[in-house]
C-alpha cells in the first residue's frame, strides 16, 4: 500500500518530492519494458511483467555494472547477492547470454573487421575502407532491426540505409576507441535509460532503435573481446607471458645496419638527438615510421633557425598559420591567451597566499585566519574542478559522468530498493532524510579501538561489558565495549571500569570507521535518565580484526617435596604439556622467594613439576605464577533502527545491562562467597 501523504502536512518541498516519487514509479515501470535486450517485446503494464521481473533486474544490473558513474564506489556489484538469493535469476541470465551469443554470431564478421582496424593503425583508417564497412554495417543493422520489426511491428522501416550510414559516421567519429575495447561500450546503459526516461512517441521510436542497434553491436563485441582476453592471459598469472608465449622481440630488425634502421629512428629520443620540440610536448617527436619521414624532413628544414625554444614556437606558429582551417587558429590563439591568463592568475594567487601567510605569522585574528583558510580551500577546490573539467569535460557530459561520477551541483534521482515497509509506515516528515555515502571499508564490521573517556558530568563510571549506544559518524548502534589501559611495555591490560577522570582505551565490535572519527556514547536510548545522558566521549584510533587485551591470571601451587633449593610443586598446572609451555617461567612464593619452573615430573599428580628457588622454601609456602590471559571480546552489534518503529527510539529495543535487569526483575545481586 502506498503511504498516505496528507497534502496539508508537508510543505512545498515535500510536495515536490511526492511528485517526483510518482515519476520514479512510472519510469521504473517503463524501464522494465524497454530495458530488454532480448527479443521479447513486452507491452506496458502487461502481465508478463511479473514473470520477467528477475530478468529485468538482471538487465539493470548488467547495465549499471558496465559503468557506474555515481561515485559510490562502495558496493557497486550487487548481482552476486542476487545470484545467490534467487535461484531463478541464474536461469534468466542464461537465457540472456544465449541471446547475446546469437547476436555475436550474426555480427562476428563485422566486429572482427572493425576491431582489427582499431587495433592496428587508426591514423590510416580514415576513409579508405569506409565503403566496405558501410555495407557491412547496413546489413547488420538491417537484420537486427528486422527481428524487432517482427515483434513490435512498428512502421519505421523507411530509410534504413540512411540511418545505417549515419550510425557508421557516428562510429567513424570515434575512430580508435580504445576505451571501448577495454571497457566495452556503456552506451547501452545510457541509451536504455534515455529510453526509459523520455516519454516518447512512435516517431521517436525509430531513433531509439537505431541507437540501440549500434549499442548492441559494440557491447557484444566488447564482451567477446573480454572473453578472448581472459583466455589469452591464461592461468599462469604472469605479467609477461601472454597465452603461454614469451614475448619476443625481433632482434634482426634492431640489429640491421643502414641509414634508416630502427636504432636511427630512436635517435631523437635521446639527449644526443635533435631537440626540435620542447621536452614538454610529450614525446611528440617520435614519428619513426617510414611514412612519417616527410614531416621529419620539414622539421629539419625548420631547424635551421636554431634549436632553442623560441624558434620552435615560431615554428609552431608557422604551422598553425599554414593550417587551412582558420577557425582552428583562432581557437588556438584563444587557448593560448587563456593559458597565459591562467598562468598570471596563478602567479598572483601564489604571491597573494605567501603574503597572507607571512602576515598571518604576525598575529592574525582567529576569524581572519579562518577566512583565509576557507578562501584557500575554496580556491583549491576550484582548481581541482577546473582540472577535472579539462581532463574529462572535453568529450561531453556522458563521458564525463563515466569517468568522474556525479560531481557536486548535479541533480540526481536516487532510487532505493528493498526499503522495509515499516520505514514507510512510520515515516515522519518532521524528520528529513539525509543521504550520505560510505567507503566500502566502512560497511565492514570489525573491532574498533578508541580513546575513551567517561564524560565528566556523567555520574557513574562505566562498567566493562555493559552495552553502550555509540554514535559515530552516520551511525548509531549498540555494542559492548571492553576497557583497557596501556602498560609501559605496550600491553593492553583489561579494566573492569572506566577510570574516573582519565582516558582509557575502549574496544568494541562495530562498523569500521576511519581513525580520528569522534565518538559519543550513551547508556540507554529510552526511559528516564537522571543526570547527564551522555556517558562518554572518545575518538577512533585503530581498526583491526582482533585486538589483544589481557588480564592478570595468578596460578597457585603447593610444594610436595622440598630439597635444598629445589622443590616439587603440584596443583599449578593440569598436564605435562602445560608445564612444558611454562618452562622457565618465573614463580614466587608468598614470602617473596623467587624461582623458576624447570621441568615436568613423570610421577605424581599430572602437571606437577620441579622448580628451583633462590632459597629453600617452606612447606607452608604457596607458590604463585603470574601470567596474562587474553580477554575475549564480545561481537555484538545492534544498529538503532528507530525509523522502523512507530514510536521512534522508544520502539527500539536494545540490550539491557545487568544492573537494569536486576532492578526490573527484582533479582538479588549474586554474591560469590568464595571471592
Amino acid at each position: 500500500e502506498e503511504p498516505e501523504y496528507d497534502p496539508d502536512e508537508p510543505a512545498g518541498m515535500l510536495k515536490g518530492l511526492q511528485d517526483v516519487d510518482e515519476a520514479v514509479d512510472e519510469r521504473m515501470e517503463r524501464s522494465t519494458l524497454r530495458l530488454f535486450k532480448g527479443s521479447k517485446a513486452v507491452e506496458a503494464g502487461s502481465d508478463e511483467e511479473e514473470d520477467d521481473d528477475d530478468y529485468d533486474d538482471e538487465n539493470i544490473q548488467q547495465i549499471s555494472n558496465d559503468a557506474v558513474p555515481f561515485r559510490m564506489r562502495g558496493d557497486p556489484a550487487e548481482d552476486d547477492d542476487e545470484n545467490e538469493s534467487d535461484a531463478s535469476s541464474s536461469e534468466d541470465s542464461d537465457s540472456d547470454s544465449d541471446s547475446d551469443d546469437d547476436d555475436n554470431q550474426n555480427k562476428s564478421d563485422d566486429d572482427d573487421d572493425s576491431d582489427s582496424n582499431d587495433e592496428n593503425d587508426s591514423a590510416s583508417e580514415s576513409g579508405s575502407n569506409s565503403d566496405d564497412d558501410d555495407s557491412d554495417d547496413g546489413e547488420s543493422v538491417g537484420s537486427g532491426e528486422e527481428d524487432k520489426a517482427l515483434q513490435s511491428g512498428v512502421s519505421w522501416k523507411s530509410g534504413i540505409a540512411e540511418r545505417a550510414a549515419q550510425s557508421f559516421l557516428e562510429r567513424q567519429a570515434s575512430v580508435l576507441n580504445l576505451q571501448e575495447l577495454i571497457y566495452g561500450s556503456n552506451k547501452s546503459k545510457l541509451v536504455t535509460d534515455e529510453d526509459d526516461d523520455g516519454d516518447k512517441s512512435d516517431s521517436d521510436d525509430d531513433e531509439f532503435f537505431k541507437l540501440k542497434k549500434s549499442t548492441r553491436e559494440s557491447t557484444n563485441s566488447s564482451e567477446r573481446k573480454s572473453n578472448e582476453a581472459v583466455s589469452l592471459l591464461g592461468e599462469e598469472d604472469s605479467s609477461r607471458l601472454i597465452s603461454g608465449e614469451i614475448e619476443r622481440i625481433d632482434m634482426e630488425e634492431w640489429l640491421e645496419e643502414g641509414g634508416d634502421n630502427l636504432i636511427e629512428s630512436l635517435r631523437d629520443k635521446f639527449v644526443t638527438g635533435k631537440w626540435d620540440k620542447p621536452a614538454g610536448s610529450g614525446g611528440g617527436n617520435d614519428d619513426d615510421d617510414g611514412s612519417a619521414f616527410g614531416d621529419f624532413e620539414d622539421l629539419e628544414t625548420g631547424e635551421q633557425y636554431g634549436p632553442n625554444g623560441e624558434v620552435l614556437s615560431d615554428n609552431d606558429d608557422e604551422a598553425s598559420d599554414s593550417d587551412p582551417t582558420a577557425g582552428m587558429t583562432d581557437a588556438e590563439i584563444r587557448a593560448y591567451n587563456a593559458e597565459k591568463k591562467a598562468k598570471q592568475k596563478k602567479g598572483f594567487d601564489n604571491e597573494y597566499d605567501e603574503e597572507k601567510k607571512t602576515k598571518g605569522m604576525g598575529g592574525m585574528k582567529d576569524d581572519e585566519a579562518e577566512n583565509e583558510y576557507l578562501e584557500t580551500l575554496k580556491r583549491q577546490k576550484e582548481e581541482k574542478m577546473k582540472r577535472n573539467q579539462e581532463e574529462f569535460g572535453k568529450e561531453g557530459e556522458r563521458t564525463r559522468l563515466r569517468h568522474e561520477g556525479f560531481r557536486q551541483g548535479l541533480y540526481c534521482r536516487i532510487r532505493i530498493d528493498g526499503v522495509p515497509a515499516a520505514f514507510l509506515d512510520n515515516y515522519s516528515p518532521e524528520q528529513p532524510l539525509v543521504i550520505g555515502g560510505l567507503t566500502p571499508q566502512e560497511t565492514n564490521l570489525g573491532f574498533v579501538r578508541c580513546r575513551f573517556k567517561k564524560h565528566r558530568w556523567h555520574r557513574k563510571i562505566l562498567k566493562c561489558n555493559d552495552p553502550l549506544v555509540f554514535s559515530i559518524g552516520w551511525r548509531r548502534f549498540q555494542s559492548i565495549p571492553t576497557f583497557s589501559t596501556e602498560d609501559q611495555n605496550g600491553r593492553h591490560r583489561y579494566l573492569k571500569y572506566t577510570p574516573e577522570h582519565m582516558h582509557c582505551f575502549a574496544t568494541f565490535y562495530g562498523p569500521q570507521c576511519p581513525p580520528n572519527t569522534g565518538i559519543l556514547a550513551i547508556q540507554r536510548m529510552t526511559g528516564n535518565i537522571t543526570g547527564f545522558r551522555i556517558a562518554a566521549t572518545g575518538v577512533v584510533l585503530e581498526l583491526n580484526a582482533s585486538f589483544p587485551v589481557v588480564k592478570k591470571l595468578k596460578l597457585v601451587g603447593t610444594p610436595t617435596k622440598i630439597y635444598k633449593n629445589t622443590a616439587f610443586i603440584t596443583g599449578m598446572f593440569n598436564s605435562d604439556l602445560e608445564v612444558s609451555r611454562f618452562e622457565g617461567a618465573s614463580i614466587r612464593t608468598v614470602s617473596g622467594i623467587r624461582g623458576q619452573v624447570k621441568k615436568a615430573l613423570r610421577e605424581g599428580q599430572p602437571g606437577s613439576f620441579r622448580a628451583t628457588f633462590e632459597d629453600k622454601i617452606l612447606r607452608s609456602d604457596i607458590v604463585f605464577c603470574r601470567t596474562w590471559m587474553p580477554v575475549e571480546m564480545k561481537e555484538y552489534y545492534n544498529p538503532v533502527t528507530n525509523h522502523l518503529a512507530a514510536t521512534g527510539t522508544d520502539g527500539w529495543y536494545g540490550m539491557k545491562n545487568k544492573a537494569l535487569l536486576q532492578l526490573e526483575t527484582n533479582t538479588p545481586i549474586e554474591v560469590n562467597p568464595d571471592s
Binding site: 544490473q61 547495465i63 559503468a67 561515485r71 559510490m72 564506489r73 562502495g74 558496493d75 557497486p76 556489484a77 552476486d80 580508435l176 580504445l178 546503459k189 534515455e194 592471459l233 598469472d237 614469451i246 622481440i249 632482434m251 640489429l255 636504432i263 630512436l266 635517435r267 629520443k269 639527449v271 644526443t272 638527438g273 621536452a279 614525446g283 617520435d286 619513426d288 581541482k384 582540472r387 561531453g396 556522458r398 559522468l401 569517468h403 556525479f406 540526481c412 534521482r413 536516487i414 530498493d417 528493498g418 526499503v419 522495509p420 520505514f423 532524510l433 555515502g437 566500502p440 560497511t443 565492514n444 570489525g446 552516520w474 548502534f477 576511519p514 585503530e542 583491526n544 580484526a545 533502527t641
Partner: protein, 459 residues
Amino acid sequence: QGFIIPFFILRCYPTPTTAKCEVYKETHHYPQYPPHHHLTAAAEMGKSSATAFSKRKNSGGGSSSSSRTLRFEDGATQFRQRIVVSLLSHRPLLIRNIRADDLQNPGLKDYEASFLRLIDQLTNGSKIEINSTGTQLRFHPGTLLGGTDLKHACPDSRSIGWFLEGILPLAPFGKESLAITFTGITDGLCQVDPSADYWNRSGLPLFSAFGIGVENDFDEEKPQIRVLQRAAAPESEGNGKVLFTCPIVKQLQSIDMVDPGKIKRIRGTAISCKIVSSSMAARVAYAAKGIFHKLLPDVWIHTDVHTSKRHRCGPSPGIMMVVSSESTTGIILTAECCMDHRQHQQGVNTDSSLIPSKTGLEIPEDLGKRGACMLLEEIRRGGCIDTSCQSLAFLWMALTPEDVSRIRVGTLSQYSIETLRLIKHAFDVEFKVTPDMESKTVLLSCLGTGYRNMAKAST
C-alpha cells in the same frame, strides 16, 4: 528538532530482498544530443545485506557480505591482483574453476598456495577457504598489518619477483611499515616474471612518484628492494634472498607522468651467478654497450659476478642483465633478459625457439644484444613507464585522492588491460584512454577514489 537519519540504516536492517539503489541524473542540455534526451545513468550503490541484529558469526563472514563479493569464474587468471584488489577494496573474493579442466593437476599450484600463505602472514583476520580439489577459493579480506622481520620462502616454481609483484601494491597500506625477506629464486625467470632487480630499478621510482616514502628523512625508511643473495633457476635451495621494505602512507599522491623527456643516461648490471668464468658477465655488458653507444655516450653497465664460494649463491648457473634508461624528466624505463635455463635441459632441441639463435644455447654476446634491443623497444614505445610496471601504476592511480592522475604508456599490455577491467570491477574507476596518434602512445587518466589507509592507527 530536525533529526538526521543516516541512510545506511536501511542497509543495516535485515531484509530478505536485496536493496538496490539507482541514481538517475538529469542534465539539461548537452551539445551532441537533442535536449529532450534525458541522460540518465543507473548506478548501483549496493548494500551489504542483512547484517544481523546481534552476533555475526565469525566463521561465516563470507556470506554476510556476499553482495559485495568479487566473483570470478575463470580460474587463476590474475590470481594475485584479484586477491590484492579484494584486500584493498575490502570486498570478499570468490574464484572458481581454478584449473578445473586439468585432470592431472587441478586446483591451485604450489606457488599460488604460497602466495596465499604470504597474504595470510601480512593480514589479520583474513579467511581463506579452498575446497577439497583446490579449484575454488573463497577469500575474505582482513586488515593489512605489514610488520618488520617477516620471512617468506618462495617455491622454486616461480621467482621472487612474482611474489614481489603481488604484494607491491599492498605494501604502503598496512598498519605498520613492511620489511620482508623472501627466499627463493632471484634470477633466470625474467622471461616469465619481472625479477626483483627489475622492481628495484623500475618499481621504486614509481613508489616515489606516488609519494610513498618521500617524506621520510632516513634512508632506512625509504622503500627499497635489495637482492642480498642470488640464486638462479631452476633450483635455489633457499639461497636467493631479497629484502623488501616499504613505509606506509595515509594517502597516495596523484601523478602526472606524461612527458617522457629525452633519455640522458643508461645504466645496467650484467649478473652472473655460479658461473666459473667471470668474463661471461663482461661479455654481456660489452655487447649491450656496443648497441647503446650508437645512441648515447653515457652508458654504464656494471658486472656483478656471484660465486657460490664467496657470495653463497644458489647451485644453478645463470646469467642475466638489467638495463634501464633515465630521461631528463626522471622517467625510468627498464628491460631485462636472462639465459633461459630450460634450454640447458632441452639442449639443442629448442622447439620453442625462445632465442633467436637456433643453435641451442645463447652466447653471452647475444644475450647482451637481446637485452639492449629490449630496452630500445621499450624506448621506442614512448611511454613514461615500461610495460611490466603498467598494472601497478594503474592500480595505484585508482587509489589516489580524488584528483586527476595521468600517465602515458607506450603499448597497453594484455595484462594491464585486464588490470584496468579489474579496477573497474572492484573500485568503479574507469580510466579515460586516449590514444595519442602523433607519438603512437596511449594517455590514461582517471579520477582517484580518494582511498585512505584506514588500517593506519592514529596516534
